[in-house]
Symmetry: C2
Subunit: 282 residues, 2 copies
Protein backbone atom coordinates (compact mmCIF):
# COMPACT_ATOMS: atom_id res chain seq x y z
CA UNK A 1 0.00 0.00 0.00
CA UNK A 2 1.53 3.27 -1.16
CA UNK A 3 0.42 6.21 0.97
CA UNK A 4 1.22 9.78 -0.01
CA UNK A 5 1.19 12.49 2.62
CA UNK A 6 0.96 15.91 1.01
CA UNK A 7 2.00 18.23 3.80
CA UNK A 8 4.11 16.38 6.37
CA UNK A 9 3.12 18.48 9.40
CA UNK A 10 1.25 17.71 12.61
CA UNK A 11 -1.91 16.40 10.89
CA UNK A 12 -0.34 14.55 7.97
CA UNK A 13 2.56 13.29 10.05
CA UNK A 14 0.22 11.89 12.71
CA UNK A 15 -1.80 10.07 10.04
CA UNK A 16 1.49 8.65 8.68
CA UNK A 17 2.55 7.36 12.11
CA UNK A 18 -0.82 5.69 12.77
CA UNK A 19 -0.89 4.10 9.33
CA UNK A 20 2.60 2.65 9.84
CA UNK A 21 1.35 1.20 13.12
CA UNK A 22 -1.73 -0.39 11.56
CA UNK A 23 -0.51 -1.30 8.10
CA UNK A 24 3.01 -2.61 8.48
CA UNK A 25 3.28 -3.17 4.73
CA UNK A 26 2.47 0.50 3.96
CA UNK A 27 5.12 2.60 2.32
CA UNK A 28 4.80 6.27 3.18
CA UNK A 29 5.82 8.97 0.69
CA UNK A 30 6.02 12.59 1.75
CA UNK A 31 5.41 15.63 -0.44
CA UNK A 32 6.25 18.99 1.07
CA UNK A 33 7.39 22.28 -0.42
CA UNK A 34 9.52 22.82 2.66
CA UNK A 35 12.75 20.73 2.32
CA UNK A 36 13.43 20.99 6.06
CA UNK A 37 10.08 19.35 6.76
CA UNK A 38 10.97 16.46 4.45
CA UNK A 39 14.31 15.97 6.22
CA UNK A 40 12.68 16.13 9.64
CA UNK A 41 9.85 13.82 8.56
CA UNK A 42 12.34 11.18 7.41
CA UNK A 43 14.59 11.57 10.45
CA UNK A 44 11.59 11.37 12.75
CA UNK A 45 10.29 8.21 11.03
CA UNK A 46 7.13 9.92 9.85
CA UNK A 47 7.68 9.16 6.15
CA UNK A 48 9.91 6.67 4.37
CA UNK A 49 10.76 8.63 1.27
CA UNK A 50 10.39 11.98 -0.41
CA UNK A 51 8.16 12.24 -3.47
CA UNK A 52 6.66 14.88 -5.74
CA UNK A 53 3.20 15.47 -7.14
CA UNK A 54 4.40 13.84 -10.36
CA UNK A 55 4.66 10.50 -8.50
CA UNK A 56 0.99 10.54 -7.51
CA UNK A 57 -0.03 8.11 -10.26
CA UNK A 58 1.39 5.28 -8.18
CA UNK A 59 -0.43 6.25 -4.98
CA UNK A 60 -3.09 4.05 -3.39
CA UNK A 61 -4.05 6.64 -0.81
CA UNK A 62 -3.31 10.36 -0.68
CA UNK A 63 -3.73 12.51 2.42
CA UNK A 64 -3.98 16.22 1.65
CA UNK A 65 -2.94 17.84 4.91
CA UNK A 66 -1.93 21.38 4.02
CA UNK A 67 -3.45 24.78 4.79
CA UNK A 68 -6.94 25.10 3.30
CA UNK A 69 -5.97 27.79 0.78
CA UNK A 70 -3.32 25.49 -0.68
CA UNK A 71 -5.80 22.61 -0.74
CA UNK A 72 -8.20 24.79 -2.68
CA UNK A 73 -5.54 25.47 -5.32
CA UNK A 74 -4.11 21.97 -5.43
CA UNK A 75 -6.93 19.47 -5.00
CA UNK A 76 -8.10 19.44 -8.66
CA UNK A 77 -4.52 19.03 -9.72
CA UNK A 78 -4.04 16.09 -7.35
CA UNK A 79 -7.19 14.39 -8.68
CA UNK A 80 -5.91 14.91 -12.24
CA UNK A 81 -2.75 13.00 -11.39
CA UNK A 82 -4.01 10.02 -9.38
CA UNK A 83 -5.23 6.77 -10.92
CA UNK A 84 -8.83 5.56 -11.00
CA UNK A 85 -8.56 3.54 -7.79
CA UNK A 86 -6.77 6.08 -5.63
CA UNK A 87 -8.46 7.45 -2.52
CA UNK A 88 -7.76 11.14 -1.86
CA UNK A 89 -8.64 12.39 1.66
CA UNK A 90 -8.35 15.98 2.83
CA UNK A 91 -8.35 17.14 6.45
CA UNK A 92 -9.29 20.79 6.11
CA UNK A 93 -11.04 22.79 8.82
CA UNK A 94 -13.41 24.24 6.20
CA UNK A 95 -15.45 22.09 3.85
CA UNK A 96 -17.71 24.22 1.65
CA UNK A 97 -15.11 25.85 -0.61
CA UNK A 98 -13.04 22.68 -0.81
CA UNK A 99 -16.02 20.51 -1.82
CA UNK A 100 -17.10 23.16 -4.33
CA UNK A 101 -13.67 23.32 -5.89
CA UNK A 102 -13.92 19.72 -7.15
CA UNK A 103 -17.67 19.28 -7.50
CA UNK A 104 -17.45 18.90 -11.30
CA UNK A 105 -14.12 17.11 -11.38
CA UNK A 106 -14.24 13.84 -13.39
CA UNK A 107 -12.49 12.11 -10.47
CA UNK A 108 -14.77 13.57 -7.77
CA UNK A 109 -15.58 9.99 -6.71
CA UNK A 110 -11.95 9.47 -5.74
CA UNK A 111 -12.16 12.22 -3.12
CA UNK A 112 -13.39 11.97 0.46
CA UNK A 113 -13.91 15.32 2.23
CA UNK A 114 -13.04 14.98 5.89
CA UNK A 115 -12.25 17.06 8.93
CA UNK A 116 -10.57 15.20 11.77
CA UNK A 117 -11.22 17.15 14.96
CA UNK A 118 -7.79 16.64 16.41
CA UNK A 119 -4.57 18.52 16.77
CA UNK A 120 -2.46 20.52 19.13
CA UNK A 121 -1.23 24.10 19.05
CA UNK A 122 2.09 22.90 17.57
CA UNK A 123 3.02 22.34 13.93
CA UNK A 124 5.54 20.64 11.64
CA UNK A 125 6.64 16.98 11.35
CA UNK A 126 8.18 16.92 14.82
CA UNK A 127 4.75 17.81 16.25
CA UNK A 128 3.31 14.56 14.83
CA UNK A 129 1.97 12.21 17.50
CA UNK A 130 1.20 8.51 17.35
CA UNK A 131 -2.41 7.96 18.47
CA UNK A 132 -3.45 11.59 17.92
CA UNK A 133 -6.71 10.45 16.32
CA UNK A 134 -7.71 7.87 18.90
CA UNK A 135 -11.31 8.48 20.02
CA UNK A 136 -11.42 11.72 18.08
CA UNK A 137 -14.28 12.70 15.80
CA UNK A 138 -13.86 12.76 12.04
CA UNK A 139 -16.51 14.71 10.18
CA UNK A 140 -17.08 13.40 6.68
CA UNK A 141 -18.92 15.60 4.19
CA UNK A 142 -20.78 14.58 1.02
CA UNK A 143 -19.97 10.92 1.61
CA UNK A 144 -22.43 9.96 -1.15
CA UNK A 145 -20.15 11.60 -3.71
CA UNK A 146 -17.29 9.20 -2.96
CA UNK A 147 -17.11 5.80 -4.66
CA UNK A 148 -18.39 2.95 -2.43
CA UNK A 149 -15.13 1.04 -2.48
CA UNK A 150 -13.14 4.11 -1.52
CA UNK A 151 -15.60 5.04 1.25
CA UNK A 152 -15.04 1.54 2.57
CA UNK A 153 -11.27 1.85 2.40
CA UNK A 154 -11.34 5.22 4.19
CA UNK A 155 -13.66 3.95 6.93
CA UNK A 156 -11.38 0.97 7.51
CA UNK A 157 -8.41 3.29 8.04
CA UNK A 158 -10.33 5.65 10.30
CA UNK A 159 -11.66 2.71 12.29
CA UNK A 160 -8.22 1.16 12.71
CA UNK A 161 -6.75 4.42 14.01
CA UNK A 162 -9.65 4.75 16.42
CA UNK A 163 -11.78 7.60 15.05
CA UNK A 164 -15.52 8.14 15.50
CA UNK A 165 -17.29 9.13 12.30
CA UNK A 166 -19.96 11.81 11.90
CA UNK A 167 -21.59 12.69 8.57
CA UNK A 168 -22.56 16.24 7.76
CA UNK A 169 -23.17 18.52 4.79
CA UNK A 170 -20.43 21.10 4.11
CA UNK A 171 -22.66 24.13 4.80
CA UNK A 172 -23.66 22.86 8.26
CA UNK A 173 -20.09 21.82 8.97
CA UNK A 174 -18.72 25.29 8.29
CA UNK A 175 -21.48 26.99 10.28
CA UNK A 176 -21.13 24.87 13.41
CA UNK A 177 -17.36 24.55 13.35
CA UNK A 178 -17.16 28.35 13.39
CA UNK A 179 -18.70 28.21 16.88
CA UNK A 180 -16.94 25.25 18.41
CA UNK A 181 -13.51 25.79 16.88
CA UNK A 182 -12.84 28.94 14.89
CA UNK A 183 -14.28 31.34 17.49
CA UNK A 184 -12.24 29.67 20.27
CA UNK A 185 -9.09 30.45 18.34
CA UNK A 186 -9.97 34.10 17.84
CA UNK A 187 -11.01 34.55 21.48
CA UNK A 188 -7.70 33.05 22.54
CA UNK A 189 -5.57 35.07 20.10
CA UNK A 190 -7.24 38.31 21.14
CA UNK A 191 -6.88 37.46 24.82
CA UNK A 192 -3.17 36.92 24.28
CA UNK A 193 -2.93 40.15 22.34
CA UNK A 194 -4.78 42.18 24.97
CA UNK A 195 -2.55 40.95 27.76
CA UNK A 196 0.74 41.25 25.83
CA UNK A 197 -0.11 44.80 24.74
CA UNK A 198 -0.89 45.85 28.25
CA UNK A 199 1.89 44.13 30.07
CA UNK A 200 5.20 45.41 28.77
CA UNK A 201 7.13 44.22 31.79
CA UNK A 202 6.42 40.66 30.82
CA UNK A 203 8.53 38.59 33.11
CA UNK A 204 7.09 40.13 36.25
CA UNK A 205 3.50 40.05 35.18
CA UNK A 206 3.40 36.59 33.70
CA UNK A 207 4.67 35.27 37.00
CA UNK A 208 1.14 36.09 38.11
CA UNK A 209 -0.44 33.99 35.40
CA UNK A 210 -1.81 30.65 36.48
CA UNK A 211 -3.08 27.59 34.71
CA UNK A 212 -6.34 29.38 33.91
CA UNK A 213 -4.62 31.96 31.75
CA UNK A 214 -2.46 29.29 30.22
CA UNK A 215 -5.37 27.15 29.10
CA UNK A 216 -7.48 30.00 27.72
CA UNK A 217 -4.53 31.40 25.79
CA UNK A 218 -3.16 28.05 24.57
CA UNK A 219 -4.67 28.32 21.10
CA UNK A 220 -2.90 31.66 20.55
CA UNK A 221 0.20 29.57 19.88
CA UNK A 222 -1.46 28.19 16.72
CA UNK A 223 0.00 28.64 13.26
CA UNK A 224 -1.10 31.81 11.39
CA UNK A 225 -0.32 30.05 8.10
CA UNK A 226 -2.91 27.44 8.91
CA UNK A 227 -5.52 29.71 10.46
CA UNK A 228 -5.57 32.75 8.18
CA UNK A 229 -6.99 30.81 5.19
CA UNK A 230 -9.48 29.03 7.46
CA UNK A 231 -10.86 32.39 8.60
CA UNK A 232 -10.84 33.58 5.00
CA UNK A 233 -12.79 30.60 3.69
CA UNK A 234 -15.25 30.67 6.57
CA UNK A 235 -15.52 34.45 6.68
CA UNK A 236 -19.30 34.82 6.84
CA UNK A 237 -19.79 32.31 9.63
CA UNK A 238 -16.79 33.54 11.60
CA UNK A 239 -17.97 37.17 11.45
CA UNK A 240 -21.37 36.05 12.71
CA UNK A 241 -19.88 34.20 15.68
CA UNK A 242 -17.64 37.17 16.44
CA UNK A 243 -20.63 39.51 16.46
CA UNK A 244 -22.47 37.31 18.92
CA UNK A 245 -19.39 36.90 21.10
CA UNK A 246 -18.68 40.65 21.14
CA UNK A 247 -22.36 41.28 21.91
CA UNK A 248 -22.21 38.95 24.92
CA UNK A 249 -19.02 40.58 26.18
CA UNK A 250 -20.57 44.03 25.79
CA UNK A 251 -23.64 42.93 27.69
CA UNK A 252 -21.41 41.59 30.46
CA UNK A 253 -19.53 44.90 30.57
CA UNK A 254 -22.79 46.84 30.78
CA UNK A 255 -23.95 44.66 33.68
CA UNK A 256 -20.63 45.41 35.40
CA UNK A 257 -21.07 49.14 34.84
CA UNK A 258 -24.62 48.97 36.17
CA UNK A 259 -23.28 47.01 39.15
CA UNK A 260 -25.92 44.39 38.43
CA UNK A 261 -23.98 41.58 40.02
CA UNK A 262 -27.04 39.40 40.45
CA UNK A 263 -27.36 39.25 36.67
CA UNK A 264 -23.64 38.55 36.36
CA UNK A 265 -24.01 35.66 38.79
CA UNK A 266 -26.83 34.29 36.64
CA UNK A 267 -24.86 34.66 33.42
CA UNK A 268 -22.11 32.54 34.90
CA UNK A 269 -24.45 30.04 36.52
CA UNK A 270 -26.28 29.45 33.24
CA UNK A 271 -23.01 28.89 31.45
CA UNK A 272 -21.75 26.42 34.07
CA UNK A 273 -24.04 24.05 32.22
CA UNK A 274 -21.06 23.66 29.84
CA UNK A 275 -19.75 21.12 32.40
CA UNK A 276 -22.42 18.60 31.47
CA UNK A 277 -21.96 19.26 27.80
CA UNK A 278 -18.21 18.70 27.98
CA UNK A 279 -18.66 15.59 30.11
CA UNK A 280 -21.09 14.36 27.48
CA UNK A 281 -18.53 14.58 24.71
CA UNK A 282 -15.89 12.60 26.53
CA UNK B 1 -0.03 23.64 65.99
CA UNK B 2 -3.71 24.44 65.67
CA UNK B 3 -4.69 25.41 62.14
CA UNK B 4 -8.12 26.80 61.34
CA UNK B 5 -9.43 26.61 57.81
CA UNK B 6 -12.31 29.03 57.33
CA UNK B 7 -13.93 27.80 54.15
CA UNK B 8 -13.12 24.15 53.54
CA UNK B 9 -13.28 24.22 49.74
CA UNK B 10 -10.71 23.67 47.00
CA UNK B 11 -8.28 26.37 48.21
CA UNK B 12 -8.61 25.91 51.97
CA UNK B 13 -8.85 22.15 51.70
CA UNK B 14 -5.69 21.96 49.60
CA UNK B 15 -3.82 24.07 52.19
CA UNK B 16 -5.08 21.70 54.88
CA UNK B 17 -3.83 18.63 53.03
CA UNK B 18 -0.38 20.12 52.43
CA UNK B 19 -0.07 21.25 56.03
CA UNK B 20 -0.94 17.79 57.30
CA UNK B 21 1.77 16.44 55.02
CA UNK B 22 4.43 18.88 56.26
CA UNK B 23 3.41 19.34 59.90
CA UNK B 24 2.42 15.94 61.20
CA UNK B 25 1.65 17.41 64.60
CA UNK B 26 -0.81 19.95 63.15
CA UNK B 27 -4.44 19.68 64.14
CA UNK B 28 -6.78 21.02 61.48
CA UNK B 29 -10.08 22.65 62.42
CA UNK B 30 -12.64 23.47 59.78
CA UNK B 31 -15.15 26.31 59.86
CA UNK B 32 -17.79 26.31 57.14
CA UNK B 33 -21.35 27.59 57.02
CA UNK B 34 -22.21 24.65 54.78
CA UNK B 35 -22.67 21.54 57.00
CA UNK B 36 -22.28 19.22 53.99
CA UNK B 37 -18.84 20.70 53.35
CA UNK B 38 -17.81 20.00 56.93
CA UNK B 39 -18.98 16.39 56.65
CA UNK B 40 -17.19 15.94 53.34
CA UNK B 41 -14.04 17.63 54.61
CA UNK B 42 -13.87 15.25 57.58
CA UNK B 43 -14.69 12.17 55.50
CA UNK B 44 -12.12 13.17 52.91
CA UNK B 45 -9.42 13.69 55.56
CA UNK B 46 -9.13 17.40 54.81
CA UNK B 47 -9.87 18.53 58.37
CA UNK B 48 -9.82 16.74 61.69
CA UNK B 49 -12.63 18.49 63.48
CA UNK B 50 -15.41 21.02 63.04
CA UNK B 51 -15.07 24.37 64.82
CA UNK B 52 -16.79 27.75 64.94
CA UNK B 53 -15.52 31.33 64.83
CA UNK B 54 -15.88 31.37 68.62
CA UNK B 55 -13.03 28.84 68.86
CA UNK B 56 -10.58 31.13 67.04
CA UNK B 57 -8.89 32.29 70.25
CA UNK B 58 -7.05 28.95 70.39
CA UNK B 59 -5.82 29.13 66.77
CA UNK B 60 -2.12 29.39 65.87
CA UNK B 61 -2.81 29.88 62.18
CA UNK B 62 -6.00 30.80 60.39
CA UNK B 63 -6.54 30.43 56.64
CA UNK B 64 -9.38 32.56 55.31
CA UNK B 65 -10.35 30.78 52.11
CA UNK B 66 -13.85 31.97 51.32
CA UNK B 67 -15.31 34.15 48.54
CA UNK B 68 -13.84 37.66 48.66
CA UNK B 69 -17.13 39.35 49.62
CA UNK B 70 -17.40 37.13 52.68
CA UNK B 71 -13.75 37.81 53.53
CA UNK B 72 -14.48 41.52 53.37
CA UNK B 73 -17.30 41.16 55.88
CA UNK B 74 -15.56 38.68 58.16
CA UNK B 75 -11.87 39.54 58.31
CA UNK B 76 -12.12 42.26 61.01
CA UNK B 77 -14.26 39.96 63.04
CA UNK B 78 -11.70 37.16 62.73
CA UNK B 79 -8.88 39.49 63.83
CA UNK B 80 -10.99 40.55 66.82
CA UNK B 81 -11.24 36.96 67.96
CA UNK B 82 -7.69 35.64 67.49
CA UNK B 83 -4.96 35.97 70.06
CA UNK B 84 -1.88 38.20 69.78
CA UNK B 85 0.35 35.54 68.23
CA UNK B 86 -2.05 34.15 65.66
CA UNK B 87 -1.23 34.39 61.99
CA UNK B 88 -4.24 35.08 59.75
CA UNK B 89 -3.71 34.48 56.01
CA UNK B 90 -6.26 35.14 53.30
CA UNK B 91 -6.16 33.80 49.75
CA UNK B 92 -8.44 36.21 47.92
CA UNK B 93 -8.16 36.97 44.22
CA UNK B 94 -8.54 40.70 44.99
CA UNK B 95 -6.33 42.52 47.43
CA UNK B 96 -7.17 46.24 47.54
CA UNK B 97 -10.56 46.12 49.26
CA UNK B 98 -9.48 43.34 51.59
CA UNK B 99 -6.33 45.18 52.72
CA UNK B 100 -8.35 48.38 53.13
CA UNK B 101 -10.95 46.67 55.26
CA UNK B 102 -8.44 45.99 58.05
CA UNK B 103 -5.95 48.82 57.57
CA UNK B 104 -6.83 50.41 60.91
CA UNK B 105 -7.52 47.21 62.77
CA UNK B 106 -5.51 46.97 66.04
CA UNK B 107 -4.47 43.45 65.00
CA UNK B 108 -3.47 44.40 61.42
CA UNK B 109 -0.02 42.97 62.17
CA UNK B 110 -1.53 39.52 62.63
CA UNK B 111 -2.76 39.49 59.04
CA UNK B 112 -0.86 38.48 55.91
CA UNK B 113 -2.59 39.37 52.64
CA UNK B 114 -1.87 36.71 50.04
CA UNK B 115 -3.08 35.44 46.71
CA UNK B 116 -1.93 31.96 45.80
CA UNK B 117 -2.16 31.64 42.01
CA UNK B 118 -3.44 28.11 42.00
CA UNK B 119 -6.69 26.29 41.62
CA UNK B 120 -8.84 24.34 39.24
CA UNK B 121 -12.29 24.94 37.82
CA UNK B 122 -13.78 22.72 40.53
CA UNK B 123 -14.89 23.61 44.05
CA UNK B 124 -15.75 22.17 47.45
CA UNK B 125 -13.75 19.96 49.86
CA UNK B 126 -13.69 17.01 47.46
CA UNK B 127 -11.90 19.22 44.93
CA UNK B 128 -8.98 19.69 47.34
CA UNK B 129 -5.69 18.35 45.99
CA UNK B 130 -2.46 17.46 47.78
CA UNK B 131 0.41 19.36 46.17
CA UNK B 132 -1.84 21.95 44.50
CA UNK B 133 0.55 24.73 45.51
CA UNK B 134 3.79 23.10 44.44
CA UNK B 135 5.79 25.50 42.23
CA UNK B 136 2.90 27.92 42.14
CA UNK B 137 3.26 31.64 42.75
CA UNK B 138 1.96 33.27 45.91
CA UNK B 139 1.57 37.02 45.74
CA UNK B 140 1.96 38.68 49.10
CA UNK B 141 0.74 42.26 49.53
CA UNK B 142 1.76 44.84 52.13
CA UNK B 143 4.18 42.41 53.76
CA UNK B 144 5.63 45.27 55.80
CA UNK B 145 2.34 45.55 57.67
CA UNK B 146 2.62 42.01 59.05
CA UNK B 147 4.62 41.32 62.24
CA UNK B 148 8.13 39.97 61.51
CA UNK B 149 7.61 36.74 63.40
CA UNK B 150 4.36 36.03 61.60
CA UNK B 151 5.90 36.85 58.20
CA UNK B 152 8.53 34.28 59.05
CA UNK B 153 5.99 31.67 60.04
CA UNK B 154 3.99 32.21 56.86
CA UNK B 155 7.07 32.02 54.64
CA UNK B 156 8.10 28.79 56.30
CA UNK B 157 4.73 27.24 55.49
CA UNK B 158 4.71 28.50 51.90
CA UNK B 159 8.25 27.28 51.41
CA UNK B 160 7.46 23.82 52.77
CA UNK B 161 4.50 23.42 50.46
CA UNK B 162 6.65 24.51 47.53
CA UNK B 163 5.39 28.01 46.65
CA UNK B 164 7.36 30.83 45.00
CA UNK B 165 6.81 34.20 46.62
CA UNK B 166 6.28 37.54 44.86
CA UNK B 167 5.70 40.82 46.70
CA UNK B 168 3.41 43.46 45.29
CA UNK B 169 1.25 46.37 46.41
CA UNK B 170 -2.52 45.74 46.38
CA UNK B 171 -3.27 48.34 43.69
CA UNK B 172 -0.78 46.80 41.23
CA UNK B 173 -1.95 43.31 42.14
CA UNK B 174 -5.57 44.09 41.30
CA UNK B 175 -4.65 45.87 38.07
CA UNK B 176 -2.44 43.12 36.69
CA UNK B 177 -4.46 40.17 37.93
CA UNK B 178 -7.44 41.60 36.01
CA UNK B 179 -5.46 40.93 32.81
CA UNK B 180 -3.89 37.58 33.53
CA UNK B 181 -6.75 36.01 35.44
CA UNK B 182 -10.07 37.83 35.65
CA UNK B 183 -10.30 38.60 31.92
CA UNK B 184 -9.52 34.96 31.03
CA UNK B 185 -12.53 33.90 33.08
CA UNK B 186 -14.88 36.33 31.39
CA UNK B 187 -13.61 35.46 27.91
CA UNK B 188 -14.18 31.81 28.69
CA UNK B 189 -17.64 32.29 30.24
CA UNK B 190 -18.80 34.39 27.29
CA UNK B 191 -17.37 31.90 24.79
CA UNK B 192 -19.34 29.14 26.52
CA UNK B 193 -22.45 31.31 26.53
CA UNK B 194 -22.16 32.21 22.84
CA UNK B 195 -21.82 28.60 21.79
CA UNK B 196 -24.55 27.24 24.09
CA UNK B 197 -27.00 29.93 22.96
CA UNK B 198 -26.39 29.16 19.34
CA UNK B 199 -26.29 25.42 19.46
CA UNK B 200 -29.60 24.13 20.76
CA UNK B 201 -29.03 20.64 19.40
CA UNK B 202 -26.18 20.19 21.81
CA UNK B 203 -25.27 16.55 21.57
CA UNK B 204 -24.71 16.70 17.83
CA UNK B 205 -22.78 19.91 17.78
CA UNK B 206 -20.53 19.29 20.73
CA UNK B 207 -19.41 16.10 19.06
CA UNK B 208 -17.60 18.52 16.77
CA UNK B 209 -15.81 20.21 19.63
CA UNK B 210 -12.18 19.29 20.08
CA UNK B 211 -9.59 19.87 22.74
CA UNK B 212 -9.19 23.48 21.59
CA UNK B 213 -12.74 24.37 22.53
CA UNK B 214 -12.45 22.38 25.73
CA UNK B 215 -9.40 24.26 26.95
CA UNK B 216 -10.65 27.74 26.07
CA UNK B 217 -13.98 27.08 27.72
CA UNK B 218 -12.62 25.26 30.78
CA UNK B 219 -12.86 28.28 33.08
CA UNK B 220 -16.57 28.62 32.29
CA UNK B 221 -17.04 25.76 34.75
CA UNK B 222 -15.86 28.02 37.59
CA UNK B 223 -18.01 28.88 40.58
CA UNK B 224 -20.23 31.99 40.21
CA UNK B 225 -20.27 32.34 44.01
CA UNK B 226 -16.51 32.77 43.97
CA UNK B 227 -16.24 34.90 40.84
CA UNK B 228 -19.12 37.37 41.16
CA UNK B 229 -17.60 39.14 44.20
CA UNK B 230 -14.15 39.12 42.57
CA UNK B 231 -15.54 40.99 39.57
CA UNK B 232 -17.43 43.30 41.93
CA UNK B 233 -14.36 44.19 43.99
CA UNK B 234 -12.17 44.60 40.93
CA UNK B 235 -14.82 46.34 38.86
CA UNK B 236 -12.79 49.27 37.51
CA UNK B 237 -9.85 47.16 36.37
CA UNK B 238 -12.04 44.43 34.94
CA UNK B 239 -14.10 46.90 32.91
CA UNK B 240 -10.87 48.36 31.53
CA UNK B 241 -9.57 44.94 30.44
CA UNK B 242 -12.96 44.13 28.91
CA UNK B 243 -12.92 47.34 26.89
CA UNK B 244 -9.49 46.54 25.51
CA UNK B 245 -10.45 42.95 24.77
CA UNK B 246 -13.67 43.97 23.01
CA UNK B 247 -11.73 46.62 21.07
CA UNK B 248 -9.26 44.01 19.84
CA UNK B 249 -12.06 41.64 18.84
CA UNK B 250 -13.83 44.44 16.98
CA UNK B 251 -10.64 45.34 15.15
CA UNK B 252 -10.22 41.69 14.17
CA UNK B 253 -13.82 41.60 12.91
CA UNK B 254 -13.26 44.76 10.86
CA UNK B 255 -10.14 43.25 9.29
CA UNK B 256 -12.24 40.18 8.41
CA UNK B 257 -14.95 42.37 6.86
CA UNK B 258 -12.31 44.29 4.89
CA UNK B 259 -10.83 40.95 3.81
CA UNK B 260 -7.47 42.20 5.01
CA UNK B 261 -6.09 38.74 5.68
CA UNK B 262 -2.51 39.91 5.62
CA UNK B 263 -3.21 42.00 8.68
CA UNK B 264 -5.02 39.07 10.29
CA UNK B 265 -1.97 36.90 9.69
CA UNK B 266 0.19 39.53 11.37
CA UNK B 267 -2.15 39.85 14.34
CA UNK B 268 -1.80 36.14 14.96
CA UNK B 269 1.91 36.02 14.27
CA UNK B 270 2.58 38.82 16.76
CA UNK B 271 0.54 37.04 19.39
CA UNK B 272 2.35 33.72 18.82
CA UNK B 273 5.01 35.38 20.95
CA UNK B 274 2.89 34.18 23.89
CA UNK B 275 4.68 30.83 23.44
CA UNK B 276 7.94 32.25 24.75
CA UNK B 277 6.20 34.05 27.56
CA UNK B 278 4.39 30.91 28.69
CA UNK B 279 7.56 28.84 28.40
CA UNK B 280 9.26 31.47 30.51
CA UNK B 281 6.81 31.04 33.36
CA UNK B 282 7.21 27.28 33.53
Amino acid sequence: MKVFIIGTGLIGGSFALDIQENYTEAKIFGVDKNPTHIKEAIAYGVIHEEATLEDLSKADIVFVTIPVDTTLGLLSNILDKVNDNTLVIDAGSTKQDICNSVKDHPKRRNFLASHPIAGTEFSGPTAAIKGLYKQKTNIICEVEKTAFKLQEKALEIFSKIGMRIRYMDPVSHDKHIAYVSHLSHISSFMLGKTVIEKEKNERDIFDMAGSGFESTVRLAKSSPAMWTPIFEQNKTNVIETLEEYIGNLQKFKTLMQQENFEAIYEEMENTNHIKNILNGIK
